[in-house]
Symmetry: C2
Subunit: 101 residues, 2 copies
């Protein structure tokens, strides 16, 4: 993901419930779907005690469209009822970046 | 970490070298040290295939001060020579946030 213009990062941090058997499948579906959205630039995630997923978007509108996607809305509801005990979403404007390696 | 004013997130994503025996100790030292920095608001991290650490700061100046801290500078050098094959740092302004649970 190379970039010279301004863009946005959505930082999603979460704590999961014990049983997450149905979670992985939905997570993969959402990633596939997000990739098809306008303005999508990439996703990175890792999970230890807490999970962190950062997705990258060209604009706030692109983030809003993804948030309102019907399959994603369904996943958001499942997240609250079945998967997460807590989560927090931060919408951020990337102001500067640099890389090694 | 509750907040009503604007603040910044530093997203640090990385891929590590095989041997990271000395890494954990330094990571803990850096977290302890960061907590003592002016403008520090919190840190979240997780590691799977890639590692993601997000630290939260009150201002760009606070981030700059932390980047130039001498012990942190030493850790940054060790990171390049001993621990990471790749990393990327993104400095972001948190524009909006919401929470569940």
């Amino acid at each position: 993901m190379q970039n010279t213009e301004s863009y946005y990062a959505v930082i999603f941090t979460s704590k999961q419930q014990e049983d997450d058997s149905s979670y992985q499948k939905m997570a993969e579906q959402m990633e596939t779907l997000a990739k098809q959205q306008s303005g999508y630039m990439g996703i990175e995630s890792a999970k230890e005690t807490i999970g962190i997923t950062v997705s990258y978007w060209k604009s706030l509108d692109a983030i809003k469209n993804w948030k309102e996607n019907s399959a994603h809305l369904f996943a958001q509801e499942k997240g609250k009822t079945d998967w997460y005990t807590w989560y927090k979403v931060r919408i951020c404007k990337v102001e500067r970046e640099y890389e090694f390696g």
